[in-house]
Symmetry: none
Subunit: 203 residues, 4 copies
DNA sequence: AATGAATGAGTATTCATTCAT
DNA sequence: TATGAATGAATACTCATTCAT
């Protein structure tokens, strides 16, 4: 990350965006609760209190980080779901889209993974639970359609399969680093190959 | 494990065990940082200060929870690794053992998943990093042996495969509830079937 | 052996009472907003954080101070109002009772005078507005009865008279010091003499 | 073509006056301490920092509000005191003048009532204490002259009488609203009637 | 004259921990 | 063993004030 510029003539929405990116990085690295406002401010090169010129509270920072990410995620997902693809192609497209989001919003995804369950308890973060539900409906529905269409195996517990697919995709945010040796598309390709065909060599 | 300095009389190990189980439950539900000592004490029916008769810090509680779990885990793992099985059978045994541990130490596993990365920074929790490394060596080595033996596919990035296998097993601790409709062995069986053979129906 | 009953969840009411008296003194002297928790703690000989063992918040301290005072005040007032006295005797008894309360709860009365209007905006302090209304009803009703009975003058705006009587009584809390040269009863007597007969010498 | 203003030397006194009136309104409504500079700025339609072009501190705003009010008050009082009236007429004139000031400077009077005691502690507000003393001298002196002249009763504690008269006049600022049903002169008349003759009906 | 952004000192509150009883 | 009361350091947040533009 390049060193921050002198705080001279910085326009407002850009500064906000910069600060949110900084905050997301720290939240992802240390966890939301363990992150002090002072640490974010340090990383941004300002004093703790100064953050409150831009944001109402620490909570509203995660809020903005998570909701921005989820909005963008669902734009991509909805496009896929509305495309009228078959079950296998839908799963492939959703997985690819997911890894792309992880690439673009790595920090936000990591925060989402670690904190969403505990944040969702508060009314303000209701949308996290809502999203989770939409998520489940989309994936589970596609898997069921695939079983009915004889594209996916029918001898597996479908909810187990769902959790299996869901978790492995998103947990990747904990180790993924943008600019590594694999592009998101390549990771998606290999991941899909494993999930769909298995890792055992076929005789 | 050698007793700490604090308790002057003989603190009942049974009471300790009960209190640790209570603490683990709360840590798993709320996260280590977000859990106050007072909350643990509430759950145990005592006052916050009273816990310090049994433990010398909140940190030493997680410490004992995690090290107890890891000790037991490695007992099982080492037995498997020393049994001289083939790569596929080793993977099968490790996965089955892992789900058994999740069944027995669900709370500890959940804590391990959420907190180990951030705890491992402290010298006191060095053993978490050590364990992680032993872990990687065991799994990665087995996978590599499997590729060499033409039991596992050789067209996949092996580190990607490792992370994929590792994460899917352990992330199960976040949704697994003992006493559910599937036994740990059944979950292991289905999980292995997915990982090894894939979820796509073979033509 | 005969042990004292030790209720578990009861923090010593005596200590609470002492601390509340200290807090009331400081609130009365400096104003609620201008009083820092640290100042109260200083006056009590402890650290700021320690107050939170006994009270939830600074707000709950004023709350308890004011509600305790108002409860006691209304006990006295209700006894007077239920006694079936004539209008003049009722006024006399209410005034005397008021100065007695000022004597007993000087600090609380001073706080009530300064802060009630601004505190009453919060739902928690709804009872302040309720009390104010009961207050007005009791005094205004008695004055009206007195006018009807030809005991009080009928050429005065009755609401003006009410405010005049009410304010003069309570504003005394700002200068009254217990143990001064006049007892509350003596102050009440002189005050009543002024209000009822006026300060001008009759020809 | 708009004329260039002189740099930072001469801010428009009209704008100053407007801003002070706005500030006084807010101070009176919320209390000096509880009023934030930002709230005053909001009410004035500008940003908090912009107020510092006109005033050098929040404190200097109250200072100017209070001193302006007191200067005007003493102009009126001095005129009365220098007029050579008898004690009763002097009291009548002072009271009438006071209600006129309340009518004209309601906000300032309310601030004075609530905050003067606690502000007077600072050297900058020494004049508040001075005024208080002059005030006491004027009223107490007139009352004493009245007792000597056999115009006022001599069976009352004179200091009690002074506080009684003083407080009831000024406390009116807390409920008085300009443009109500009574003019300041009418309120003064009724108030004086109560104080001088009492509220009891004479047989 | 006013803005946008920041400072720095403070404020209420939390919480792990201690310790006499 | 456990309690009651306190400590002390940290925490999120507030606000009067500054200053370059």
């Amino acid at each position: 990350m390049p060193t921050k510029k002198k705080p001279q003539a910085t326009p407002s929405p850009e500064r906000r965006g910069e600060l949110l990116a900084t905050a997301a990085e720290v939240f992802a690295a240390q966890g939301y609760n363990a992150t002090t406002v002072r640490r974010i401010a340090d990383a941004a090169g300002m004093l703790a209190g100064s953050l409150y010129y831009h944001f109402d509270s620490k909570e509203s920072m995660v809020d903005e980080i998570l909701s921005t990410f989820l909005n963008e995620l669902w734009e991509g997902y909805d496009a896929v779901l509305d495309a009228g693809l078959g079950p296998r192609e839908t799963i492939e497209a959703l997985v690819t889209e997911s890894f792309r989001e992880i690439d673009r919003h790595r920090a936000a995804v990591a925060i989402y993974q670690k904190e969403s369950q505990h944040l969702a308890a508060q009314p303000r973060f209701q949308y996290l639970a809502d999203s989770q539900q939409k998520f489940e409906k989309a994936w589970l529905g596609t898997l069921e359609r695939g079983v009915a269409d004889r594209v996916f195996r029918d001898d597996l517990d479908i909810r187990l399969t769902y959790r299996f697919v869901r978790d492995t995709v998103w947990v990747a945010a904990s180790w993924y680093r943008p600019g590594g040796q694999h592009s998101p598309e390549e990771i998606a390709r290999q991941y899909l190959s494993m999930v769909l065909e298995g890792i055992a060599l076929r005789g």
